[in-house]
């Protein structure tokens, strides 16, 4: 698909982290953090990536920004293959893509006041004169619901929610088109979480932003996303429009995730979909379908044959032998 409206195309990406042992760092194996993932993100949409810890969702987000180098596969941003770009070209492209991390405490420099933090990306990219940069910083603060006098304050003077607002303002400073939001609200209290989620939605509408929204909370992902991909052990197991995947999930893992949401109003009964056991280690994933060790409906062939990634309905993809 070389659609004009595709902003990011991820093609069969793999990221293996070496496991080294001993004094000489002999490589004894690999953690397959991401193991062959393919998807597109369209201009102006929010793509949600969900899964449990260690499923590779964060690594996927970082690989798209080339913050980790890929083991295999390609990432295209607006038609350009990122791996083909040299450092100068990549730097230019970075202006168009930004990231917001989970922990607003560690993503701000404690010795830089808010003004300096907001102006820095502009300086780095050589945008505007110093006076213009300061104006821009003030405007950004207003965008995220802070006041101009906050410019001279330091990160420790802010609460977690306010810090996340600053981080978002900084990401917006270079007028990016694409923002990877990596668990942006999971460190926040619920009443603050909703403020930040509403802000992200508002900003998206205002600036036509495209989001990759990485999170483990299924309700949060539903609220923000247009399309959702579910990851398990480095692979994507299901991908569909938000409505479709929450109302008609096909993969047994997606069903189990929904049934596991406490409170019991996801519409999926716990007893039918509860998973036994733990997630296997990504250093040594099971053969065949990597989910078969916990799957309540696994068949003998699931242990041997890796299920194909196929379209089972309009824009609904799944990797499961038992699917429709």
């Amino acid at each position: 698909m070389t659609n004009a409206d595709v902003l990011v195309r991820v093609e069969n990406i793999k990221k293996y982290f070496p496991i080294s042992k001993g004094a000489f760092g002999r490589v004894t194996g690999y953690v397959r953090a991401v193991d062959g993932v393919t998807f597109d993100i369209r201009k102006g949409e929010s793509f949600g990536l969900v899964g449990e810890s260690g499923c590779g969702k964060t690594t996927t987000g970082r690989a798209i920004l080339r913050l980790v180098e890929l083991t295999a596969g390609r990432v295209f941003f607006d038609g350009q293959d990122l791996a083909q770009l040299d450092d100068v070209e990549m730097r230019k492209l970075r202006r168009r893509m930004q990231i917001v991390f989970q922990d607003p405490y560690s993503s701000l420099n404690p010795r830089m006041n808010v003004g300096a933090a907001l102006v820095e990306p502009l300086t780095a990219h050589g945008i505007g004169t110093p006076a213009e940069r300061l104006e821009k910083a003030k405007a950004l603060l207003a965008q995220v619901g802070l006041r101009p006098f906050h410019l001279n304050r330091y990160p420790h003077e802010f609460s977690g929610g306010q810090r996340q607002r600053i981080v978002i303002a900084r990401a917006l400073s270079v007028d990016p088109e694409f923002i990877v939001c990596d668990e942006p609200v999971s460190a926040l209290d619920v009443s603050i979480q909703s403020q930040i989620l509403n802000l992200l939605k508002e900003l998206q509408a205002k600036f036509g932003l495209t989001y990759l929204f990485v999170a483990h909370n299924l309700a949060v992902v539903r609220y923000i996303s247009d399309r959702v991909g579910v990851m398990y052990l480095g692979k994507m197991v299901e991908l569909a429009d938000e409505r479709e995947i929450y109302n008609h999930p096909v993969h047994p893992y997606t069903k189990a995730l929904l049934a596991a949401v406490p409170g019991g109003d996801s519409g999926f009964e716990r007893d039918k979909h509860i998973l036994a056991g733990d997630v296997p280690s990504p250093a040594n994933p099971p053969p065949g379908c990597s989910f078969h060790t916990r799957c309540p409906v696994a068949r003998p062939d699931c242990k041997e044959v890796v299920p194909e990634w196929r379209e089972i309905g309009p824009r609904h993809y799944v990797a499961c032998h038992l699917a429709g």
Partner: protein
């Protein structure tokens, strides 16, 4: 024997710091009946954990100061107990599990040794009896291969398995009350579901009471009979879970419930509680929620409302203008 297992009246816990006294818990009163699960809910810093630690007398004094009109557990006045006597209650008839199982288990002791310890101290079992009982508890808590696990160390187990071990340990002495402080917060959802199912099963089987401390409304709805919502060191609303979810009376509860994205549909926008939680050093005058409240009047900033009974059904609310007067909160 009365129905009330735990009764707390007017609990105050204050910490003396370099910057002055920090009132973490201000006049909390609650009861837990036998076999009942009470959830204590609120955002970080609202005093929910300190409340439970104060009841267990696990707050270091100094810097902490605890005062209460009454803390009675199973007919015993906990405030009157010596430290030695309190130690016998703790881990015996009253047990606790914490959020992060890795930091609550001793990393240099095997699982078996840690499980046997309370049995030998509290129940005077021999080593062999203790080992057998521990194995039984591990099995009950759904730990696979219990014989093998007894000889393993905490780092060899996954997060979910560690929490099962913690639960087994808490249950070894058959407590009448289990205090669970964010028991599933550090776990992935599928593992969380396993642990919640386990806790429900054990509650049915052993008939124990539970005080569940959490910030997750889904967990509250699934696990508890009654809920107490805390804000800025006080209980602001208390009542049966179903009714509070259907018809919250306190504007804070109403805001809190509306700020959680639903799982069964896509919400257009989330309700927002403006502003931030006040610091305990500078609690607002009058009702502590009034600067963030949409319904606040002059009265609210002047006078602190009491926890009052509203609308029957054992519902309590600390508000001058509970939402019931406006025809319930379900208007959106």
């Amino acid at each position: 024997m009365s129905d009330v297992l735990l009764e707390v009246k007017n609990l105050h816990t204050t910490f003396d710091t370099m910057d002055g006294a920090v009132p973490a818990v201000c006049g909390v009163s609650l009861e837990i009946n036998r076999g009942e699960v009470l959830a204590l809910v609120g955002e970080s810093g609202c005093g929910k954990s300190v409340t439970s630690l104060s009841i267990m007398r696990l707050i270091p004094c100094p810097p902490g100061r605890i005062s209460a009109d009454k803390i009675s557990f199973d007919g015993v006045d906990l405030l009157g107990l010596s430290n030695d006597e309190m130690r016998k209650v703790r881990g015996n008839t009253m047990a606790m599990i914490f959020q992060e199982p890795m930091t609550s288990l001793n990393p240099v002791m095997t699982i078996g040794a840690q499980l046997c310890e309370p049995l030998e101290t509290h129940r005077g079992m021999s080593r062999l009896e203790a080992a057998e009982e521990s194995m039984r508890m591990l099995k009950l808590a759904g730990v696979s291969l219990p014989e093998q696990r007894m000889h393993e160390y905490p780092h060899q187990l996954s997060g979910g398995m560690r929490q099962r071990v913690m639960i087994a340990m808490a249950l070894t002495c058959r407590p009448k009350l289990l205090i669970a402080d964010e028991p599933t917060t550090a776990l992935d959802v599928t593992i969380q579901a396993q642990i919640l199912e386990l806790m429900k099963e054990l509650r049915r089987e052993l008939g124990m009471s539970m005080m569940l401390i959490t910030h997750d409304m889904g967990v509250v709805r699934e696990m508890s009979d009654r809920v107490a919502i805390m804000y800025a060191g006080q209980i602001v609303e208390q009542g049966p879970v179903k009714e509070i979810f259907q018809n919250p009376l306190h504007p804070y509860t109403y805001g809190l419930l509306g700020s959680i994205p639903p799982i069964n549909r896509k919400a257009e926008t989330l309700r927002v509680i403006r502003g931030v939680v006040p610091s305990p050093m500078f609690f607002p005058s009058g009702c502590r929620f009034h600067p963030r409240c949409d319904y606040a009047t002059a009265e609210c900033s002047d006078q602190m409302p009491e926890l009052m009974e509203v609308g029957g059904d054992s519902r309590l609310v600390r508000c001058w203008h509970p939402l019931i007067e406006k025809g319930g909160a379900n208007r959106d």
